[in-house]
């Protein structure tokens, strides 16, 4: 396994409360969600929707299903857990998750994956 690498992907002012933005990482596109009121305000998962097969997850609606924080894919509406990346409708499908932290004005993602080009399928 490669080392955890912290990289700055956005500034605080880029975040949209209760919603997501897409960022580019060496491990491919990631979706970064900001829930100001919650215990854990920042979540990051893959931006690529493995069911709709497009980079769209940051553009989904954020919410909770039976207490689990999720984003609904804007393409075919499946829900993905923000903390585990698991798809709620299909247990065989999940997306990668990333550790996130705030450092002053910078938002950083912990990337563990080796350097890859192209999409994060």
């Amino acid at each position: 396994m490669s080392d955890l690498q912290w990289i700055t992907v956005a500034r605080q002012s880029d975040l949209i409360a209760e919603s997501g933005i897409a960022v580019w990482t060496p491990a491919g596109p990631a979706a970064l969600f900001y829930l100001p009121g919650s215990k854990q305000p920042l979540y990051a998962i893959g931006h690529y929707d493995p069911i709709g097969k497009a980079n769209v997850l940051a553009r989904g609606i954020v919410g909770d299903i039976k207490g689990e924080l999720v984003v609904a894919s804007p393409l075919y509406k499946q829900h993905f857990s923000l903390s585990t990346g698991q798809c709620l409708e299909d247990e065989t499908v999940s997306v990668p998750t990333f550790e996130v932290q705030r450092d002053g004005d910078d938002i950083k993602l912990g990337i563990r994956v080796k350097q890859v080009e192209g999409c994060a399928a």
């Binding site: 956005a10 897409a22 980079n55 769209v56 909770d64 039976k66």
Partner: protein
């Protein structure tokens, strides 16, 4: 413990269905199952037999495969006729051997009846029942001209169609004075005959064939009792069916007077070890010559073998709906009015070529039967009235009158028959949904995961919800109107809470009246309510997280994550200069262009970051957003109207533009579509719209609550000869009342159908102001119109809002997973397979 032996005799439609049903039940484990079929081919769909001449093969028609049988451990013996049953030894006998049994299911079907006419056994005298029969007909038809079918019933007409498909000149000879004597009356039969003759099939009624001899010009000659004759190269007998009960007779089971193996309500014959199902079985002195009753018998026998005494066969409805040679024919219940005191309503439109007859009970309340020829449109509704004994409306004739005369009342979800397809993606019928509910599903979610309904394109979700709610309510389950787990309120209740308490954000609503974070159901709903109530910009910070991506980015997301752009073209009228701008912009950004069904132009394939740039150019050229993404007014279609058209009586384009400008941007429970036609020819198709306006000599006729889409519905005539101001005030009120009281994702049609009192109530509220809210509705509409802003205009002008359109906030690169191919001179998304390997 040694397994018992179950033997199924007959591998036809019903026998196959039995195996399918039984193999998955617990009792199947106790048996070794053998099935014997006399035909050399595995069970196939006889109902669609005629498609064999249209190019289908046995494989297309087959109902299962040998592998599937093997998988279910069923031993299949094809081309092996059972010749006897030895009930003392409990053995089934075939030319290949003897097989011990503990239980037998007879599913031997029926055989075509060939009338005892002298000469009926020569070559080229054939029948129409099996694939082998069809091969024989095909062989016989080679190089000859004329085929004659004896029998003008349902199967005879099918056979005639088949002869036509083979390129023969087709004739039908019927003994009775009309076609389909069992299902139709004389007017219906006459019309059907006319239509069929128009299609080139010659019909000869009241002809009794006395002998078949050699012909002069054709191979054979049929002599009739009235001294006339008809020559033919081949003759197909289709004069009815007889139950195949030979085996049952020879082993001494009880047989009906006119044939058929006698069964009780559990499909048991006079020998409790032997069941009979399908067309060979005689229940209560009746044979059922349709598949559906046979399938019910199959399920009953299977349940019985599982010691389930609840299941029983108690007869079946023999109503039929067919397309014969392309002509609609429907026959329901007591079509011949044989019930004492029955009364008739007939509507015979020789001009349009449609015939409808209602048979009504003496007290005028119930529908006993019906006949339809030429148009089966009302069939489902009529069947529902007849089967469920629903009280008829005061003026039942509207049920068969052409829809334009006020429109036939429909019945909401209950009007749909069990066989109605609810979800076409997953082929789920209303019956499947009822089964799922009966099997324990108690809410929409459970029905969805059980049947898969509404998990494809999602287009059926509103209809599915209606059906599920109605069915649950029928079973006494209290249906939660809560919109989701976060709010214990319906959309209408939320609307009131927002309005009455002046709530302006989702956050304060959920804090006061809900729980959790919300979800993709309640957020957009509340977003839409807030927009209707306060009409703030949908891109306002508080509202952004509430919207579906289409609303957030004010464009429709496409399958590859790009977006489409649809500028408003009010009334479909556009200047050459504007057309040029659209062309130029499309060219610059390499957008695929297409004329939509709503009289405007859609530009596809823009990336997120290109959207504001493109809109900047469009707005500079005078375009506005077309709200193609919103639950709001889409288009007002128009025809060219009195300005150019020689028939136009009013300026339909002018009115369409006025209406489109007035209601653009109005947020509503679902999308709203309008159309305005300049005269009664109705070129704008206004009667298929939520709001339809048709010009008259004196003003405008207003139609409401029409729908295209999944479940089309003609709009209802609402008011006549209105002047411009009256028209607009009526539309203001209808729309505002809809926006306030409809459920989430409910089109106006469903809203009205679900409203107690329906159209009359709506008229009362809008035209007579029965609730005294007319003024208020109009004022509310006026305030929304007053605060309209093109949301794209304010977005491109605001750098903060534009930031939302960056593909990646930290990188300028384009989305790496978009792949394109070129087709017909434009680019489009590459098919999935290519994308995946790319």
């Amino acid at each position: 413990m040694a397994k018992k032996n179950l033997i199924v005799i007959g591998n036809g439609m019903v026998g196959h269905h039995f195996l399918e049903q039984f193999a998955d039940t617990p009792a199947a484990a106790d048996y070794t199952i053998h099935v014997f079929g006399e035909e050399p081919l595995i069970a196939y769909d006889r109902v669609h037999l005629s498609e064999y001449f249209g190019g289908s093969t046995h494989a297309d028609l087959a109902m299962g495969t040998a592998d599937q049988y093997t998988e279910k451990q069923i031993q299949l013996h094809l081309d092996e006729q059972v010749t006897d049953i030895d009930r003392d030894q409990r053995e089934v006998i075939t030319p290949k051997g003897r097989y011990r049994y503990d239980a037998v299911v007879l599913a031997t079907g029926s055989y075509p009846f060939v009338p005892p006419i002298q000469g009926n056994d020569q070559p080229h005298c054939l029948v129409y029942r099996t694939l082998a029969d069809l091969d024989a007909i095909r062989a016989s038809s080679e190089g000859v001209k004329r085929g004659v079918v004896v029998g003008g019933g349902l199967l005879g007409l099918e056979a005639a169609n088949a002869l036509k498909c083979l390129g023969l000149e087709a004739h039908v000879v019927e003994f009775a004075p009309r076609l389909m004597p069992v299902q139709l009356d004389s007017d219906g039969g006459t019309l059907l005959r006319r239509k069929i003759e128009e299609l080139g099939v010659q019909v000869h009624t009241e002809k009794a064939t006395t002998e078949i001899v050699a012909g002069d010009e054709h191979r054979l000659r049929m002599n009739f009792s009235d001294e006339s004759h008809l020559e033919a190269d081949l003759i197909v007998f289709s004069a009815g069916i007889r139950p195949q009960d030979t085996l049952a007779r020879s082993c001494g089971l009880e047989i009906g007077e006119r044939g058929g193996i006698v069964i009780d309500d559990y499909c048991t014959t006079s020998d409790p070890q032997i069941f009979a199902i399908g067309e060979c079985a005689l229940w209560s002195n009746r044979i059922f010559g349709l598949v559906a009753p046979g399938y019910t018998m199959a399920r009953t026998a299977s349940a019985r073998l599982n010691q389930d005494t609840e299941a029983s066969f108690v007869g079946a409805d023999m109503s039929t709906k067919l397309k014969l040679l392309g002509v609609d024919v429907g026959s329901i219940g007591d079509a011949h009015a044989s019930t004492p005191g029955a009364r008739n309503i007939r509507f015979n439109d020789e001009q349009a070529g449609t015939y409808g007859r209602l048979v009504i009970s003496e007290d005028g309340k119930k529908l006993l039967g019906a006949i339809l020829v030429g148009d089966n449109g009302p069939y489902d509704t009529l069947l529902q009235y007849a089967l469920n004994g629903i009280d008829l409306p005061a003026n039942p004739e509207v049920l068969i009158l052409p829809a334009s005369e006020g429109g036939a009342p429909t019945l909401g979800p209950d009007a749909l028959p069990e066989t109605a397809s609810i979800c076409s993606c997953h082929n789920v019928t209303k019956g499947d949904i009822c089964c799922a509910i009966d099997a324990g599903c108690t809410d929409l979610g459970a029905v969805k995961s059980q049947t898969k309904a509404s998990t494809g394109c999602g287009g059926c979700s509103a209809l599915l919800k209606n059906v599920v709610d109605a069915e649950l309510e029928k079973r006494g389950v209290e249906v939660s109107k809560d919109i989701c787990e976060h709010f214990a309120y319906s959309r209408q209740e939320l609307f009131h809470l927002v309005k009455v308490n002046g709530i302006r954000t989702f956050h304060s609503l959920i804090e006061q009246y809900g729980k959790g974070h919300g979800c993709d159901i309640c957020k957009p709903t509340v977003g839409s309510i807030l927009a209707t109530c306060w009409n703030e910009h949908i891109m306002a910070t508080d509202h952004v997280p509430l919207q579906d991506t289409n609303d957030t980015f004010m464009a429709n997301m496409q399958k590859n994550g790009t977006y489409s752009i649809v500028p408003r073209v009010p009334g479909g009228e556009i200047t050459p200069d504007k057309l040029i701008v659209l062309g130029e912009v499309a060219k610059e950004y390499n957008l695929y262009t297409k004329i939509t069904g709503g009289q405007r132009i859609d530009l596809f394939g823009a990336t997120l970051s290109e959207l504001p740039e493109i809109w900047e150019k469009l707005i500079a050229a005078g375009f506005e957003t077309g709200h193609a993404y919103g639950k709001s007014l889409r288009t007002v279609k128009s025809c060219v109207g009195s300005t150019w058209c020689r028939y136009g009586v009013q300026d339909s384009v002018g009115m369409a533009i006025r209406l489109e400008d007035r209601y653009k941007g109005l947020r509503s429970p679902h999308k709203i579509k309008f159309a305005v036609s300049g005269c009664t020819r109705e070129c704008a198709e206004a009667q298929s719209k939520d709001i339809g306006v048709i010009a008259t000599d004196k003003g405008w006729n207003l139609y409401v609550c029409g729908n295209g889409g999944m479940r089309p519905r003609h709009a209802d005539l609402f008011a006549t000869d209105l002047n411009d101001e009256q028209l607009i005030s009526a539309i203001d009120r209808v729309l505002m009342f809809y926006v306030r009281t409809a459920d989430r994702l409910q089109r106006t049609s469903v809203w009205m159908e679900n409203m107690e009192g329906g159209l009359d109530y709506l008229k009362d509220v809008v035209l007579n102001d029965s609730l005294g809210i007319g003024e208020e509705l109009e004022q509310h509409m006026a305030s929304i119109i007053g605060t309209y802003q093109c949301e794209w205009k304010s977005t491109v002008e605001d750098p903060e809002k534009r930031k939302r359109f960056r593909e990646f906030v930290n990188d300028e690169r384009k989305d790496p997973v978009q792949h394109w191919v070129e087709e017909r001179g434009q680019r489009r998304p590459a098919p999935k397979a290519e994308t995946e390997t790319a």
